[in-house]
């Protein structure tokens, strides 16, 4: 508990301009920052002990502004703690700085987020589709992408209406 307060204070002191909120809903530490602060805050957390990148994903809150939320999960082996770092990203300026310089698995994870949500990662070495094919149009996990929409790669013999 003390350690949590300590971390919160340290982030507030160091990254006051990026800090938005730090809370623990459901017992999970969640840090909300501005998207400009992703790289400095994550590299600080990496040096702080959260040396393992578990996951990167995004959530689409359609109709809200800003629309997307990029979610990072980090893990500290030593303290046996996980932390979640979130940042709001808007649809119009959806560039987020890449963290491939900190963790190598961020390469594929960011490619997946780009593929599924269309969030662009600035400075990513190889930002192309990973699960969908190159010719695919749109980003399937966005809420406005229809569930049953089809994009056949060859022309259908009997096209659907």
């Amino acid at each position: 508990m003390e350690r949590k307060e300590e971390l919160k204070k340290e982030i507030q002191d160091r990254f006051g301009e990026f800090y938005v909120d730090f809370s623990s809903p459901f017992g999970e530490d969640t840090l909300i920052i501005k998207k400009e602060g992703i790289l400095p805050v994550l590299s600080f957390l990496k040096n702080y002990g959260f040396e393992f990148l578990l996951d990167i994903t995004a959530v689409d809150y359609l109709g809200k502004k800003p629309r997307f939320e990029v979610v990072y999960h980090l893990l500290s082996f030593k303290e046996k703690k996980r932390i979640r770092v979130k940042a709001d990203v808007d649809e119009d300026e959806s560039e987020v700085i890449t963290v491939t310089s900190l963790w190598k698995n961020a390469d594929w994870l960011e490619r997946e987020v780009w593929d599924m949500y269309g969030i662009i990662f600035d400075g990513h070495p190889n930002l192309k589709r990973i699960l969908m094919y190159e010719e695919f149009k749109g980003h399937p996990l966005r809420k406005d992408y229809p569930f049953r929409k089809r994009q056949p790669r060859i022309e259908l013999l009997y096209p659907e209406d």
Partner: protein, 438 residues
């Protein structure tokens, strides 16, 4: 590995997706210098089934069958992971007997998964006999799974709040047969492979990955532990009853194919240990949550009357830390198990409640919020990130699949080695397509 190319020009070779060892779903673009791999580019995406998009359009209960198809060699672990994530959001503690059953079935699944991995390693290095021994042992374990769940692979056995049904009466004898055969198989495999010159030559110092790189690539599970790094979700974040059981986490040293083989062999032994302990300790009781304290009917009736159970009467498991206060009222005010079938078929109230439970807009409605929960899958940390908006469908469900990270770093394990080493290395990380591409 650094080395000097023999020739100036290199050759490009396409391995997969229609290569038999690539499961039909992985394409590796190899740059070869003679027979040595200079550079490899792994391409995936041939088995994407839009699990996450589908989950957003199904109710919480309907997602369970889809989780079977993630890691289809150990489906029960996926079921447990998903159901425990929803339970964390709901704040449910499942009955003790259900927890034991979940652990026993998870460990059986882990053994089948490891056997499915070890068999192919042996086969790819030419030991067909071991492959057949492994498949034979796995078959006995699948018999156990089939008797308990009713299916071999796509089991959908675990439910939110417990498990589907209690274990059958002849479970002990079936399990004994399966475990005895697995032990025999392990002994024979140790005799045939562990000191076999051909096998060691093919696997020792092949497919090496360093500890730092394994961490940087997000490796978990046996592949991370084969580099000598101690991390197991069952030990670091104990869930269910793992903290009450006695087991060890086997570690390797060098992070090569042989260590991965050895770690999995030893993990099977530890899983057998866990099963044997759990079978001794398993208590009697119910396997679904609401039947334990209150009948589903009385719960609904009480909620109509505006009565509520005192939150202190609700015992929460240690992995629900920090959630004692605001959410415990949801435990009995919302219904998350269907009414018993006898009631459904004999009374109109039961039928109505059954209907209300299964229509898409009703049923299980967790509170707003987001949770991340992870279990130790056979390949590593299997995490679920669930966002709920308070409706009966998940707003977002993301799976942290261990295979995805393993494949992201796979090219580092084959660069510098021979083309023929790709196949055993690929077998040793136990890539499961369903989980990789969701």
């Amino acid at each position: 590995m650094d080395f000097k190319p023999l020739r100036k020009d290199t050759m490009l070779l396409n391995m997969g997706p229609s290569h038999p060892a690539m499961h039909g779903i992985i394409r590796i673009l190899l740059e070869l210098d003679g027979e040595r791999v200079v550079k490899a580019d792994v391409e995936i995406g041939y088995l994407h089934r839009a699990f996450e998009k589908t989950a957003e359009n199904k109710t919480y209960l309907q997602v369970i069958p889809y989780t079977d198809r993630l890691n289809y060699v150990s489906p029960i672990i996926n079921n447990v992971g998903y159901c425990m994530t929803v339970e964390k959001l709901l704040g449910i503690e499942v009955p003790e007997r259900a927890q034991y059953i979940r652990v026993i079935m998870s460990e059986i699944s882990r053994i089948t998964d490891h056997l499915t991995c070890l068999g192919p390693i042996a086969m790819e290095t030419g030991a067909m006999t071991v492959f057949l021994y492994m498949m034979r042992a796995r078959e006995f374990l699948y018999d156990v799974v089939e008797h308990v769940t009713g299916a071999r692979l796509t089991v959908s056995y675990v439910r939110i709040g417990g498990v589907k049904a209690d274990i059958p009466s002849n479970f002990d004898s079936l399990l004994k047969k399966g475990i005895d055969d697995t032990k025999k198989c392990l002994k024979e495999t140790h005799g045939l492979l562990s000191r076999n010159k051909i096998f060691i030559d093919r696997t020792r110092n092949v497919g090496v990955i360093s500890q730092e790189e394994a961490i940087s690539y997000g490796f978990t599970g046996p592949v991370l532990r084969s580099t000598g790094f101690y991390y197991d979700v069952r030990k670091a974040f104990p869930y269910l009853i793992y903290d009450l059981l006695d087991f060890e986490v086997p570690l390797g040293e060098r992070g090569d194919n042989y260590d991965r083989y050895m770690v999995r062999m030893q993990e099977i032994e530890q899983s057998i240990r866990i099963i044997e302990q759990a079978m001794k300790k398993i208590p009697k009781g119910d396997v679904m949550v609401e039947k334990k304290k209150l009948e589903p009917y009385s719960v609904v009736d009480m909620s109509f009357l505006g009565k509520r159970i005192h939150p202190e009467e609700v015992k929460l498991s240690p992995n629900l830390e920090g959630s004692e206060k605001e959410r415990s009222k949801f435990i009995y005010s919302s219904k998350f198990t269907p009414p018993p079938k006898e009631e459904v078929y004999t009374s109109i109230e039961g039928l109505i409640k059954h209907f209300m439970f299964y229509i898409p807009t009703e049923g299980i409605k967790p509170p707003k919020g987001e949770v991340y929960f992870a279990v130790e899958g056979a390949n590593g940390e299997l995490g679920y990130y669930l966002v709920s908006d308070g409706s009966s469908k998940p707003y977002k469900l993301h799976v942290r699949a261990p295979c995805f990270h393993l494949m992201a770093g796979f090219h580092r394990m084959i660069e510098g080695y021979m083309v023929a080493d790709i196949i055993p290395t690929f077998a040793s990380i136990n890539m499961i397509g369903g989980e990789l591409e969701r």
